[in-house]
Symmetry: D2
Subunit: 426 residues, 4 copies
């Protein structure tokens, strides 16, 4: 199923008047306060976030999985799903593939399909946290960090293979999430595991095309419950430095210990020119992978505040690979992703409203009350009309969720695909 521009325009007619009224009022108020509204909209419209191929089916927990209907069962159908989201939001213009779940059988056909849908291939992801059928070596006790050279070599070869696949599709970065670690004290020698990981990453780095980046993810725990080799940003940063200029740290919002100040980490990495990628989600307890903005929207705003600051002040830092990394256990995955995109856009819009000049002055004067007022002034603004306007201007839906439902998308997908399909992936 594809959504046509006409369908969207049709749906927009229902809300366009109300939207116009809200937007013109907000726009006027913001202009009075000195904001350049069209510049903000221009920035918002350029923001594109990747959808991971595995996020289009229902997720689950170790206790079970409740499947959703009409899930995509092929890479082609996954692309179609991303296409649907992108049609509605105009913000999901890329897909992030997970190998080996998504190896194309026909590269040119897939590329052609993606082009038609106006979707690019963002960072490719390797998988060495599960064993693949027929694999010679097992990752049960680790992959890139494994004490066994044979296992490490297999994991390195897999990563190099992923690069090749991505290269054929136009990807420009490899994301390595290394689940390696241990469940019990003594199981691993920390130093050996770290050294092996460093050496393995360097081997992968050598195979990286010149215009590619290596993005090194970190996570404190799960699926290992005593230690994780790349447990925090510091370890990732150290490894990225060891690898070279094309290696960067990737931050996933759910991969931190309780109460961690994530926005400070982002700020430091951008200052050092080492923030390469960013995975969005939300969480209350651990790596809960909930819809972006559903639990701590103010923290998301503070993070965007640092991202905006870095994008404006840190030319030493590269463009970021953005991706939504959420799991969808009890919602329609497409609706969930649309809610995530909405939350991201709103947080970005609010961050663009922060009066950076006034903030700097207040900081210099140690006027803490004022500093807080400036951030809250931006955050408390209802920016929905700005985000709607951005989408509308580039052909998207004013209200993506409503339009998705109005067009009966899920029912159409079930008709096309059948009810009890299962997406590859987790």
């Amino acid at each position: 199923m594809k959504i046509s521009k006409d369908q969207i325009q049709d749906a927009n007619t229902k809300t366009i008047d109300s939207h116009n009224e809200n937007f013109s009022f907000l726009s006027e108020q913001l202009s009075k306060k000195g904001h350049d509204v069209s510049n903000i909209i221009s920035k918002l419209s350029k923001f594109q976030v990747a959808i991971p191929s595995w996020a289009l089916g229902a997720g689950g927990t170790r206790f079970g999985r409740f499947s959703f209907y009409g899930e995509p069962s092929s890479l082609e159908q996954k692309l179609d799903d991303v296409g649907i989201i992108h049609s509605l939001t105009q913000t999901a213009g890329s897909v992030s593939l997970h190998i080996p779940w998504d190896i194309p059988s026909d590269y040119s056909a897939i590329k052609e399909q993606a082009e038609k849908l106006n979707i690019k291939f963002d960072s490719v992801n390797s998988n060495t946290f599960q064993d693949q059928e027929g694999a010679k070596e097992s990752y049960k006790y680790g992959s890139l960090s494994n004490i066994s050279k044979a296992v490490r070599d297999q994991a390195i070869a897999h990563n190099l293979e992923v690069i090749k696949i991505g290269d054929k599709l136009g990807s420009k970065s490899l994301t390595v999430w290394l689940a390696d670690g241990s469940c019990f004290p003594g199981q691993n020698n920390f130093q050996t595991a770290l050294q092996n990981t460093q050496d393995s990453l360097k081997d992968i780095y050598k195979g990286l095309p010149n215009d590619w980046s290596l993005l090194i993810e970190y996570k404190p725990y799960e699926p290992n419950f005593y230690s994780t080799v790349i447990q925090d940003w510091g370890t990732s940063f150290m490894l990225a430095n060891e690898c070279g200029d094309k290696a960067f740290t990737l931050v996933d919002l759910g991969h931190h210990l309780p109460n961690c100040n994530i926005e400070q980490i982002i700020s430091m990495l951008m200052l050092k020119g080492k923030l390469g990628g960013f995975h969005f989600n939300d969480s209350k307890y651990g790596d809960d992978d909930l819809t972006v903005g559903s639990i701590k929207p103010y923290a998301l705003f503070l993070i965007f505040n640092e991202l905006v600051y870095g994008m404006q002040n840190n030319p030493q830092n590269p463009d970021l690979a953005w991706m939504i990394d959420a799991s969808h256990n009890i919602k329609d995955p497409l609706e969930d992703l649309i809610q995530s995109i909405e939350a991201i856009q709103q947080a970005y819009a609010k961050a663009l409203l922060v009066d950076q000049k006034a903030l700097k002055v207040a900081q210099q004067e140690h006027d803490v009350v004022k500093c807080q007022e400036i951030l809250q002034e931006a955050y408390r603004t209802d920016v929905r009309p700005l985000v709607e306007k951005t989408r509308f201007d580039i052909g998207g839906a004013i209200s993506p969720i409503d339009t998705y439902r109005y067009l009966n998308v899920r029912n159409e997908l079930i008709k096309e695909r059948g009810k009890h399909t299962t997406a590859t992936g987790l």
Copy 2:
């Protein structure tokens, strides 16, 4: 120093036009969506939160204290400070005294002063976590839970004395925050400590006037770092049940383990008719006592959502004693309290915008996406014009912080009191 109505009106003239424009637009939009704006404003205007007497001076940490200028050094001056906040916000119409820091020397004079300032005496607080000069027994190893009967008796007598003082002032509840606990395994027998606490509370309960309530606070740690006798809502709830119908649980937002779902606790307590009081603050790590709404405003909204639901649906639950319990280490305490009040009012206003009927339907249909949309619709609304309007209508400042600064209040206080005063209390 006192702020007159004229001064406030004068300050309001600067922002009244802009406010009117914003309010009429918002009001119209809300009315279209079916909200009864005047009813919301009426509810907001009735909401009054107590200021604790000790919160008017600079706080500190165990590592030191950086004092603020012009702090109140007597109960009279503290009342004046509350009066200033109340003049500006019209929301701080009561004070919560801490004994023995705030024992009045002349009751009728204090009552007269309070009446002039339109301030009531809310819950009185006992203090058995510090030794008072000349006290016979020490609370070093606990008070109401102490294994020594002499110590327990002293602590019970102190609480009864606090009731007497409060009674003379018109207070109607006693708040017991029991810091008792242990720093090391083995130091206390948990069962003995709990039993002693239960017996001590019952003795205090017996001395409670008929129209009074006993509010039992809980906290997992600090100042004790291994165990706290009343460590969670479950323990407080159990003790309140043992005491009787006039005993209730008091929730302080900062008194929970990491990641705790506080709104659910509130909801359960109201269902059982046992939520008696509520202390506002915000925190990122522990009992940080930061300005309300400065860290997790969405959690505050979710909490208010349950409070509003309970106030509308749980006649079995009493009216709540509301108090701001924050510490002000690096801000002007009065400005900090005004920021807290603003955040509280906004969260309350947003909670009043939740479409309870639609939510119920979405819940019944297991439409999780819709449930989230309904809450976010309310939360994302910029309710500042509503809160401004509420204040303005009852004689407060449209912009309390700006007005406070415009009137040079802190400088006036310094002139009156001198620079290097110190508030009693923490």
Copy 3:
């Protein structure tokens, strides 16, 4: 495969001399300090902990599962596995079944097998956190708490069915772990969910035979990541009180927020006569379900210290249903369970060495240093000879793990069952 007494005795000959030497030295030292060693051994030998039927195969995480070889694929084989553990340790004399995974096809045959293995049927567990094939209603949005009466009725009926099955086998309690909750704010009405749960539990309670207990488990999060209906001991305690005298709280060590003082909860519940069951495991981050004692053995000791105290001083509390609730992702499940049993026995032995009289005196004198010394004196004692002696005297292995390996148990199981079997359950 079954292990004969002869095989164990044979293996014991290798270590008996060294064991005797260690035991007689320790025994002498303990006697000098006033301990009644034979009494301690007698208590240790009476301690039996249930093995859950699902714990005999490899577990996994949401990211995947690495299977183990020779897993049991029928209830009969699971019983055999428990028999192996019990032969070696003489401490695993019961099994805890999970329905519907373990419904016997022939009750008398199963009972006969269990009797031969000297294994009893402990608490039975219902499962309403997964959908069963062919089920009319889905538990995707909850079971006992579900807003839909049809779903609640199905879940209640399932629990009543589980009681019937357990009754035929000689079980005397039903354990309800209710995974119900929500992943997003607004998804559930907390009050409705709690009220429904209370009503459902009361319905189940009505179907409880007179000599049975209802054990109500609690857990803060997972598989739901915003709220859980029975989130903490307070909620479980409240529900147990609502149900009646035969309803109790069940504590699982992994089901708490970070840093929670679990031993205090245990102590309070025993004082109130409401601790009914106990699930052992260990964890560093969340409900990690690691081998007992592998991460925080001192906390385990402190917990046993309260359990021993309660067993000695709280006649109002019933005998406890003990169970190991760990997951075995990277170890041979049987070896893992043996390590857990060893850790439990050592913690229990150490708790039995605490000088309760001296501790009471030190507490009364507020001699905190001494209190700590008393607990550490017990904890620092190397009690392995005591535990070995206990096992040896009743026919078990001095070194269960070594004996398990010496007898090549896993290889024998693989020979019998084949390599690539899969256990039912998680």
Copy 4:
């Protein structure tokens, strides 16, 4: 008060027989297992940990302080206290001064006193988290990170002054604990604060004598409750690398987010040659500063396991500056410190018992069960006789706490100093 060798020998006579019996049995058992007992004792006897000058008086919390009797009120008396601990334990052979609390008035007298007590001057600590009377600039909004150059310059000058003081006393390192951070979002610009800190540290580093080290501490929160400039090991490591070869990271056990795997951090830093110092304490919730080993002794063992491994395998890492950094709110500070030393020595002794060769083999074979057994074999050993023997051989007390009490030390100190003295410091 000073404790003579005779007094200690006298006290030892009471326990020597029992000690000898225990030691010879343990020694024999360990030798049978292949351990070189005299080598272990030799290593234990060389281990010396510094006592911080401020730890000899009672600490407190922000809620108050319960003082202890006979506290040292001068640097001379503090040295005497360290001397008492060292006499008893023979393990506290150095003191770590905090400036400006402990500036000597007569350097040669202090050095002479220290020499007589056999005490060295370990790392010196600067203090820029409190304002000193008469200081021109305030650290209320930060010191080395402050946006104001004047404040930064004052803080840098203070650190250089501390180096000078330490140099006169024979210290060889400066420890910088930087409390700088912010309490509210927006208060600080993270990048500016980090850049300023880096520049300030470099300025201090320039003033470092050639044979000195700069030890950079980190801490996630407190006294700032939104952000801390040096929030984690990664930031400290980055700053140390920027400074140069003489700059290192200092790990304080209490300065981590909940559930952090500290032993892995230690291991990584030693591999990279950047672990410079170590502060011992224990905690359950935050930076609780409890007696070492009183809450998580197994974690302490795992940490020592990495320290021992690093000391044996990482010549690239310098000798460590060890210090006890605990607060003593409800215990006699000297007894508390003795308990801490005992716990440290036991953890060290147990780590020395780990069979590194067997562990390496088990790790290579992925025998996770065996790896755990090897660590637990060491940990479960009762090493108290080893530690007693170590102390006894070099003139210390077999039972330091008992001897301290037997000699009535605290009473003697009260006689000498009076009851109501107050130690300088926190």
